[in-house]
């Protein structure tokens, strides 16, 4: 299974938000997209999701172009966790998560039992089972983020595109969620936009560093997260050292 961006760029008026990116993704790697504010991370994610039509180029999933896919077909191939979206959803968490099953409802192989099982499994994976009966709108920001993530998982699509899934979470939950996503990446394509470089260094198999709409670096975290490239892209001195307590890197703001 592959997701490929063929020379995609995205322009609004004369502003080039994304410039001819060529990227290929395959199942089995956890990808982190990093970069400063306004680098084009979220735009890249939305283009890869088929939510935004690129100004030039195309995105294909297993050789099928996303732009030509009806919404329902697209919904079976990829799930997207957005930063925006209404927070005042008046349904209980279990009902919100169950909405993630909608794309499957017309499939012959699907059943109410399968929907229920997938909904419960997603809530358990994220750890929101105890919130099942709480109305989404009454949850804390972190709980809402987790419930939304459970809805994305219930969709059971082969591609997961996540925009800062852990931004509202405490440290312990953040680690647990990233480990869970990494596990899922074994059989899926998981691409997450992250601001926390250390989180990216700990959990990603591959990091894509964006700067001003251009892919500045793309590779294993050890290759991408060098003091020189990070300092230049973030316009701030950054040091990278081996992590003293575990395998991998520790990124320090100087």
């Amino acid at each position: 299974m592959t997701l490929v961006a063929h020379g995609v760029s995205y322009r609004v008026g004369t502003a080039e938000i994304l410039a001819s990116a060529d990227l290929a993704f395959a199942a089995g790697e956890m990808v982190a997209v990093v970069g400063p504010n306004g680098a084009g991370k979220t735009t890249l994610l939305h283009v890869l999701a088929g939510d935004l039509e690129p100004t030039t180029g195309s995105v294909t999933h297993d050789t099928d172009a996303l732009q030509e896919m009806p919404a329902l077909e697209l919904a079976l191939r990829r799930a997207v966790l957005d930063q925006g979206g209404p927070q005042d959803i008046p349904f209980p968490v279990a009902a919100v998560v169950a909405l993630g099953r909608s794309p499957h409802r017309r499939a012959e192989a699907n059943s109410a039992r399968a929907d229920r099982a997938a909904t419960e499994a997603a809530m358990d994976a994220v750890g929101v089972g105890h919130l099942a009966d709480r109305v989404f709108a009454t949850l804390s920001a972190g709980e809402r983020a987790l419930a939304s993530l459970a809805r994305i998982l219930a969709q059971e699509s082969p591609v997961l595109l996540l925009d800062e899934p852990t931004a509202a979470l405490d440290i312990a939950v953040e680690e647990r969620i990233m480990a869970m996503l990494r596990e899922r990446a074994a059989e899926r394509i998981v691409i997450t936009v992250l601001h926390d470089l250390n989180l990216a260094a700990r959990y990603a198999d591959r990091a894509i560093l964006l700067a001003d709409g251009v892919v500045a670096a793309d590779g294993r975290p050890e290759e991408v997260f060098t003091p020189a490239s990070l300092s230049e892209v973030y316009r701030h001195p950054i040091e990278v050292v081996p992590h003293p307590l575990r395998k991998g890197l520790l990124i320090l703001v100087v």
């Binding site: 919404a71 997207v80 209980p92 909405l99 909608s102 109305v135």
Partner: protein
């Protein structure tokens, strides 16, 4: 276990609304210038259905079958239409004060209905209302595109649009032949007094399909609660769905307005009440709003026929007099999401 409790509660709310609806229907059949005992009403209805239960006299038969029953049924359909269309627009725009009559769809239906009634037939009025409602719905769709999530501007725009269109209804009414076009108070405040079996037949034929269609849109409306972007990501063709739903709302509202005029506040009060009692899932909100809307319309009509009997007052006066303050109370109460 929690699912079961929620299901029980939802069923309980719908059953309770059905009981109110049936009680209001029977009361409307019994009460009037000629008071008829409930047993007598039952016997007449049974006789009309071919079940012999003794012969009621011809006057009783005529009052119930020719006058009161069609009025009750037309009121029930128009009330259900008001409840369902209000709930639908609130879900579609994720805006608790969305309602066809506040957003200009009602006035558009009035204008279409007034023009249609120039034909001198109730069929013309209902068909004209449906067309007017759909045209107004398309205008609201343009406005809703950018402003639906900004409640104050959205509603103000709808009010301005509605007031302007209502003025045109006035021009049509005052310029037209009074024997053909119903008077202005019908178009602004509603009246069930002219309801006949012909009204019922045309109303059901015009609004029935739309009503069933809107009830079937419950899951799509649930998905709209996630926002248009996530609804699209879950496979909803958002543009097509909102177009079809709005046209349905326009046609259903318009047919009801053509039949009984503009009856306000049912679409605001009833869905809110159902949501408070049974939760926000649209499957329940829509069905509950249909039954509750019918019940509210019939209770209001009971008042309209009896408050200053033998004279009748426009039914919309009662729904506004009761529904307005009730709605204020509902929206001022702190939001305590249930279930």
């Amino acid at each position: 276990m929690h699912d079961d409790r929620r299901g029980t509660r939802r069923r309980g709310v719908v059953v309770a609304l059905l009981v109110v609806f049936f009680a209001a229907s029977v009361a409307n059949l019994c009460v009037g210038p000629v008071v008829i005992a409930p047993m007598e009403v039952m016997r007449t209805l049974a006789g009309a259905l071919g079940l012999a239960m003794g012969e009621p006299d011809t006057l009783t038969r005529a009052v119930i079958l020719d006058i009161r029953l069609p009025r009750v049924l037309v009121g029930a359909v128009a009330g259900a239409a008001a409840g369902v269309t209000g709930a639908t627009l609130q879900g579609l725009f994720r805006n608790p004060v969305a309602d066809p009559h506040l957003l200009g769809i009602g006035p558009g239906a009035s204008l279409g209905g007034a023009l249609g009634s120039l034909t001198g037939s109730v069929q013309g009025a209902i068909a004209g209302g449906a067309v007017g409602g759909m045209v107004a719905a398309l205008i609201v769709r343009r406005l809703g595109r950018s402003r639906a999530t900004e409640p104050s501007r959205f509603v103000l725009t709808g009010l301005a649009l509605g007031a302007a269109i209502s003025a045109w209804v006035g021009f049509v009414v005052f310029a037209a032949d009074r024997t053909r076009v119903p008077p202005i108070d019908f178009w602004l405040l509603g009246n069930l007094g002219a309801s006949t079996w012909a009204t019922l037949g045309t109303l059901v034929a015009t609004a029935g399909v739309g009503l069933l269609g809107l009830l079937g849109a419950a899951r799509t409306l649930d998905l709209f609660a996630l926002g248009e972007a996530d609804a699209r990501r879950l496979g909803v063709d958002v543009d097509m769905a909102s177009l079809v739903i709005l046209l349905g709302v326009g046609a259903v509202t318009g047919a009801a307005v053509g039949a009984v005029g503009v009856v306000v506040f049912i679409g605001l009060v009833v869905p809110h009440l159902v949501r408070r009692l049974a939760g926000a899932a649209h499957r329940v909100v829509l069905v509950g709003s249909a039954v509750g809307g019918a019940a509210m319309m019939l209770l209001a009509d009971l008042g309209a026929r009896t408050v200053i009997s033998p004279q009748e007052i426009p039914v919309g006066l009662l729904t506004a007099a009761i529904g307005g303050p009730f709605f204020l109370w509902l929206i001022r109460r702190p939001e305590v999401p249930r279930l």
